[in-house]
């Protein structure tokens, strides 16, 4: 499966990924682009953490 096929599966990550991946080969990945990825990770972790904690909060 090609990177294009991977990203076709991701709606929210698509735009960010394309933007960075396209420039990565030619100009390299900058610190600012890595920061944008970290920010996206933060949002995804917060969303998933909330879902992962559902059972834990029910148990208490």
């Amino acid at each position: 499966m090609t990177p294009m096929e991977w990203i076709a599966l991701a709606e929210q990550g698509f735009e960010l990924f394309m933007k960075i991946r396209n420039s990565a080969k030619s100009a390299g990945v900058t610190d600012e682009q890595l920061d944008a990825i970290t920010l996206d990770y933060d949002q995804r972790i917060a969303r998933r953490q909330a879902d992962a904690d559902v059972r834990g909060s029910d148990d208490h």
Binding site: P3, L9, F17, R21, Y41, V54
Partner: protein, 150 residues
Amino acid sequence: MPTRRSLAPILAALFLFAACATTQVQKARIVSVDVHAVLAAVDDAEMTLCNKQPDNTCKSSVPAWTTEKHVEFSKHLVTALKAGRALNEGVKAVPITGQTKADLTAVSAELEAVTGLVKDILPPNSTVVIALTAAKDAVLRLLPLFLEGA
């Protein structure tokens, strides 16, 4: 006293070393971009499958994909996403540390764990299964590149 001629090989070696280090750092950074893309694909695919309701339960098109499965999936994905984020921060530093390499291995382990969760529940043509297959394939391709090159 060193002459200009005697300094030339040393300078050439230094430039070559700097160029190689830059290439390795860029390679590691592209690996991080790829890891983020595959984890985002898995994350989004499962969220779509869950079809979360206002009461935080899943109403999936696959009845066996219950809220409990979603919670278990989320626990593993939180670990994978945290490892991905740590890796992404790690590739900013030079040289790449052993911890950053371990983060990529952790992503791989969590992808295996969530694959176990979906096994025998989701059909092979499920978007989540396809995304997971693609993600594992990507990480397998990236691991040797990252471990050797960075």
